[in-house]
């Protein structure tokens, strides 16, 4: 790590120059770097390192390949609305090959790719978007006369690091769902070695950008889990930080789209939300830069588990998630609590019968006591009469 102190960068010309280049104010630029460091979960002082790296380092060359995909990852990246983010994508990195964004076409573009690869041999970043078709020799996706497999292997050979963006590149994604006619696979399977994956459909652009900035700052990729996912973004279940989690814990569930519970923002688990089995940071950094609560669950749609192999595009949306950490109690209250039933014919009859039997028995006892009392009185009267006669 380079610089540890943001204040020491106060008068740094490189910072000024970087801010100017990115069409930002100096303060705005430093804020952006601090936000990146925070997203990455880096310790205090890393903000300065990020700022220095962005300002001073040579922009890393990036080669971006597209295979079996919808370009959604690129689209969402470009629609990110943090100030001048699109500029950052183009200015912080040197995007030397990108089929969607290139103005040039045909041989010209292929030549640019070759040039960049030779010039930055062993130093460029390879970003792969889309799954790789492998059936029938991989003939289902060709660019410039080369199959996706050939292209990927050629570009990956001299890359400093390979980043698979989106679920398709990470584990096959939507194209790999049954019956998977093209034999679509993730990048790691084709290359036969682990790569950094940023799954999601589309993935959050800031997770990708933070990974790139990490590489830029520290010269290495961030810590990843066993599936190659950066831990700063994919170590927690959506369920864990979900804004509706309190409703789950209290047992308040939406049972139907548009029902009372759904309107009140209750937990979507019973509508098939896959948050409890999906690792992603959607609830914390949200999506689409449209303000608070704007991510699928926040808008009232269950999480479909797009980042998770075996969940996204595979489990039906309505299917209830398999809970990975906590099971809901069977004894939680319902949304609409039963308010009790009144007297049934049977129960009223039993009560009446008991009351009748008790009243009858009481009457009999009273009658018997009364009769014996009368007899006693008559006897006493007789005795007193007899006494009087004597």
């Amino acid at each position: 790590m380079a610089n540890q102190n943001l204040i020491s960068l106060e008068q740094d010309d490189r910072i000024e120059a970087a801010a100017r280049r990115l069409q930002m104010g100096r303060r705005e630029f430093l804020q952006f770097c601090a936000a990146m460091a925070t997203t990455l979960g880096l310790p205090q002082g890393a903000d300065a390192a990020v700022a220095e790296a962005v300002a001073a380092n040579k922009r890393p060359s990036v080669i971006w390949l597209h295979f079996q995909e919808c370009t959604g990852c690129t689209e969402s990246m470009l629609r990110a609305e943090h100030p001048t983010l699109e500029k950052l994508i183009l200015d912080v990195i040197s995007l030397d090959y990108h089929e969607t964004l290139f103005a040039a076409a045909g041989h010209q573009v292929e030549a640019a790719r070759k040039t960049a690869m030779t010039e930055n041999k062993g130093k460029y970043l390879l970003v792969v978007e889309g799954a790789i078709p492998t059936r029938d020799g991989g003939i289902y996706c060709k660019v410039g006369g080369k199959t996706a497999i050939e292209l990927l292997k050629e570009c990956a050979a001299d890359a400093a690091a390979v980043i698979a963006i989106g679920s398709c590149a990470s584990w096959g994604g939507m194209p790999s769902t049954d019956p998977n006619p093209t034999g679509a696979m993730g990048v790691d399977k084709v290359l036969g070695k682990p790569v950094v994956t940023i799954p999601g459909c589309p993935p959050n652009p800031y997770n990708f950008l933070s990974t790139v900035v990490h590489f830029l700052t520290f010269g290495s990729l961030p810590a990843v889990d066993h599936l190659g996912r950066p831990k700063f973004a994919y170590s927690r279940l959506v369920h864990e930080n979900c804004e509706r989690r309190a409703h789950f814990d209290a047992g308040r569930f939406a049972m139907d789209f548009g029902d009372d519970g759904h309107r009140k923002g209750y937990c979507l688990y019973k509508l098939g939300c896959k948050g409890p089995e999906t690792y992603a940071n959607c609830p914390t950094i949200q999506f689409g830069d449209a303000g608070a609560g704007t991510w699928p669950v926040g808008c009232g749609h269950p999480c479909i588990g797009c980042t998770e192999q075996g969940v996204g595009f595979e489990k039906p949306i309505h299917a209830v998630a398999k809970l990975k950490n906590i099971e809901p109690s069977a004894f939680l209250p319902r949304i609409v609590e039963e308010k009790g039933v009144g007297a049934s014919l049977g129960s009223a009859a039993v009560l009446a019968a008991v009351a009748g039997a008790a009243a009858g028995a009481g009457a009999m006892v009273a009658k018997n006591l009364g009769l014996s009392h009368k007899a006693e009185q008559m006897e006493e009267a007789k005795k007193s009469d007899a006494k009087a006669e004597v």
Partner: protein
């Protein structure tokens, strides 16, 4: 219990019609409880979030323990006010109390959702000394133990444990004193349970003096129960009724009843709550029904001549008991509105299964009373006709 009022077992066969009927009712209760303890409260009761307390609490515990105040009321009369002439009534009254309270204690267990945690309420680490429920639980538990000690000379006499009996009698005064103190504490606390329910209880029954009302009515009911029980026992066992004791006891009962009614209506007037009794509501109807039951004894046994008739004494005892039942049912169920008049639709009426358990509990009390009076020296010997 002193020796100059010898008590004797009634004797006779144990297997007869009342015993058989009681056994059948108890069997039905056991069957329902079997389902309840395996499948939970919801499987057999009509309880819901709005009415978490049904007849198992209101009848088996609150009313059951009030009916069991005979022992307390008579003991207070004999030992505190030193009216030794009532001594022959102590043992039978204590026996009814013993069963009433023991079954009330057991009955609470049926109503506890997580009954296996029942001991938490008394365990120092779990107990909440600020809770009125804690007071009730602790006090009733102690009283049950105290009553068994108070009643144990009966068993000692039967089994010839003379030495132990003598030793016990030396310290019995302590337990008798406790036995009059404890019911005063928890009978009033049972009323406090209504106070903590706040505005959910109709103003006719929600008052700061409801603990006093419950205590006064429990003492009055205690005398009513003695009248009832003496009449029923003597008519069932064909024994002479202790009229010379019941007549003055009825007078004492009317005196207590007057104190109760003065507090009851004085409180309603002071709180300006009497208007609620004049509205055409179900609550007002039951208020007047309850009041009628409490006033009826004056008409039945108000004069010395009327008190000579055992039928009237019996009916007066029944009326007092019914009044006590209604006071408690009105407070806890009929005059109780979970929704505070805003959230409508809460409803409770006991299910057949719930009623079977409550009936079974009372049958168990009757059966226990029959067995013990027939085999142990409880009822006064002089009155035994056969």
């Amino acid at each position: 219990m002193s020796a100059h009022h010898p008590a004797a077992p009634v004797g006779g066969k144990l297997f007869n019609l009342p015993v058989m009927i009681c056994s059948l009712l108890i069997a039905a209760m056991v069957a329902v409880l079997f389902v309840r303890f395996i499948f939970g409260l919801g499987a057999v009761t009509n309880l819901n979030d709005g009415y978490p307390w049904g007849i198992w609490v209101v009848f088996d515990v609150v009313i059951g323990s009030a009916f069991a105040c005979g022992g307390f009321s008579v003991a207070m009369l004999v030992y505190i006010f030193n009216r030794g002439e009532y001594h022959p009534l102590v043992r039978p009254a204590l026996l009814a109390s013993l069963f009433g309270y023991t079954l009330a204690g057991v009955g609470v267990l049926f109503d506890l959702g997580r009954w296996w945690n029942f001991w938490h309420i008394l365990w120092p680490g779990y107990a909440n000394p600020n809770s009125v429920m804690f007071e009730v639980a602790l006090c009733i538990s102690c009283y049950i133990i105290v009553m068994w000690i108070e009643f144990s000379p009966v068993f000692m006499e039967k089994w010839g444990m003379k030495v132990q009996k003598k030793k016990l009698e030396k310290v019995l005064f302590f337990f008798i004193a406790l036995g009059t103190l404890l019911p005063m504490m928890h009978q009033s606390s049972l009323g406090t349970l209504l106070v903590v329910m706040g505005p959910q209880v109709n103003p006719l029954w929600q008052t700061p003096v409801v603990p006093l009302l419950f205590l006064l009515s429990a003492i009055t009911i205690g005398y009513g129960v003695v009248l009832f029980e003496s009449c029923v026992a003597s008519s069932a066992y064909r024994m002479e009724i202790e009229m010379h004791l019941l007549q003055p006891l009825a007078k004492v009962m009317l005196g207590m009843l007057s104190v109760f009614l003065i507090v009851r209506f004085g409180d309603l007037v002071v709180r300006n709550a009497f208007g609620h009794a004049l509205q055409p509501t179900l609550e007002a109807f039951f208020f007047w029904l309850e009041t009628a039951c409490f006033v009826l004894p004056y008409l039945l046994v108000g004069t010395a001549g009327a008190r000579r008739n055992p039928a009237r004494l019996f009916l007066a005892g029944v009326a007092i008991m019914l009044g006590g039942v209604l006071l408690r049912v009105n407070g806890f169920l009929i005059g109780y509105d979970t929704g505070l008049g805003v959230d409508h639709g809460w409803n409770y009426f006991p299910s057949i299964a719930e009623m079977l358990v409550t009936i079974g509990m009372f049958a168990l009390e009757v059966l226990g009373y029959i067995i013990i009076t027939r085999r142990f020296p409880v009822l006064p010997r002089s009155a035994a006709a056969h």
